[in-house]
Subunit: 250 residues, 2 copies
DNA sequence: CGTACGTTTGATCTTTCTCAATAATGGTGG
DNA sequence: CCACCATTATTGAGAAAGATCAAACGTACG
């Protein structure tokens, strides 16, 4: 197996986005004991109320965080992409406050919780990277609050499309002018506080305005600048340095 | 000055909610070098885009995190209460992604950023507490996303009132059946993704239903059980153990 | 005692939701 | 390969929650 295919390589790369790791720490990360699992779309990685025993890393595929309200409606809180350590949120807390469910068929790696805690508490560089990663997740969450609380439906959808574009491109998971949206319109609705019917209408109108075009889940941004404007989008909150990101203004 | 009045005592207490600190670490926290400042309501502690040099601890008074959208509307992201370390969010990131503004006249303590980083990276117990604190903040933020994205106005307001009640009581900052809301109806609107006009109407209707009563900012919850039900509120996401909290079902 | 800010109220308008039906699409077993 | 089924996407009509606009009323504070 080439190092390119190492299951934890995406995790390592993500950590290195945030902190320079000494060679020893890099080895340590790749040698983290773990168990690989392949799971179907819809499987739960974590359920609200669980006491997690592992920290799960997404090796391949997509997942999302969610909570369900008392009257049964769902809010999606974040979308996880390959390399994301899904349980950092819970690693230091006893009980999980939300669920994580797979969007697609996935390969995941389970790292024992105590090993992960130990690494974080003894390796300063890794601790720094993990803390920064957690803070970036929080920053994204803050932007979601703004998006849902203070932007109209058109801007919300444009904004979340921009976010996916930048995040996916920063991991080399998008093509030049577009990407495959890893979710249904109903899930998009649950992520933006709208209904699927309205999401559909907004998508169609963004298409009619020629900001995007699409073939089913395949989104092309035909006018990246205009899409960002429509979504009031600035990549600052993602804390990704510019050189890590591909999409220029073209 | 008695230890009760030590400016960092609220910070220490908050850390100890999340991790057992050895005596040495407790002393270390209280002896953190800091500069005290007294600031008026409306002052900024952090501005979006700043490169913070200090980690500011709220000694007395209230503050809130906010972001402003391109068209000028504001979203409040969190309310900070005494003992909160306002800049943990930014301590490990170079550029602040949101602003922090004072709700009331405040006393704050500025701790140099590098001192704080050093403490976190060398004292495992303090690191654990700080990480957990950050994760609890993220959990609260997730609940805010749910609140704004998937609950109607009445539930949103009821929910945020419940959250304040529990958080304030857990710090001994509330009286038996109520508390002083540290914000205007307009700020409440910016926290819940509503308009101040609508917040006013909802408050009046909660009053008419006898779930709360109020004299200006002084909120009394007359029927705590019903208020929780109306707000679909469960304290789990606050990660406060039950014995730390006062309000029982009475 | 007047000014600024916060609260309250009414009338009207818009965005988004709800309900309902239809059309694509992809996957499955035969 | 084809027919069938379950999801997902699309469209229309009507309803409702909440926004907007405008004005009046309180209250604290200099």
């Amino acid at each position: 197996m080439s190092s390119e295919e190492h299951p934890l390589i995406f995790l390592l790369r993500q950590l290195e986005l945030y902190a320079q790791l000494p060679e020893e720490d890099r080895r340590l990360v790749l040698q983290l004991p773990h168990r690989l699992r392949r799971l179907d779309a819809g499987s739960y990685l974590v359920r609200e109320g669980d006491r997690p025993t592992h920290c799960t890393v997404l090796v391949k595929g997509y997942a999302f965080r969610q909570k369900v309200t008392g009257n049964g409606s769902r809010q999606i809180l974040a979308v996880c992409i390959p390399g994301d350590a899904v349980d950092l949120q819970n690693m230091f807390l006893d009980v999980s406050d939300h669920s994580v469910q797979l969007l697609t068929q996935c390969t995941v790696a389970d790292v024992p919780r105590d090993v992960m805690q130990d690494v974080v508490l003894t390796r300063a560089a890794i601790a720094t990277a993990i803390i920064e990663l957690t803070l970036v997740d929080a920053s994204i969450l803050r932007e979601w609050v703004v998006n849902i609380g203070r932007r109209d439906a058109r801007a919300r959808i444009a904004h979340i499309l921009c976010e996916f574009a930048v995040r996916l491109e920063s991991r080399g998971l998008a093509s030049d002018h577009g990407f495959i949206l890893p979710m249904t319109q109903e899930q998009l609705a649950d992520a933006t506080g709208l209904t699927s019917v309205h999401v559909n209408r907004v998508l169609k109108s963004l298409e009619a305005e020629r900001l995007i075009s699409r073939q089913r889940r395949n989104i092309q941004y035909d006018d990246w600048r205009a899409l960002q404007d429509a979504g009031d989008f600035s990549r600052r909150y993602l804390h990704i340095s510019d050189e890590d990101v591909l999409p220029q203004d073209y």
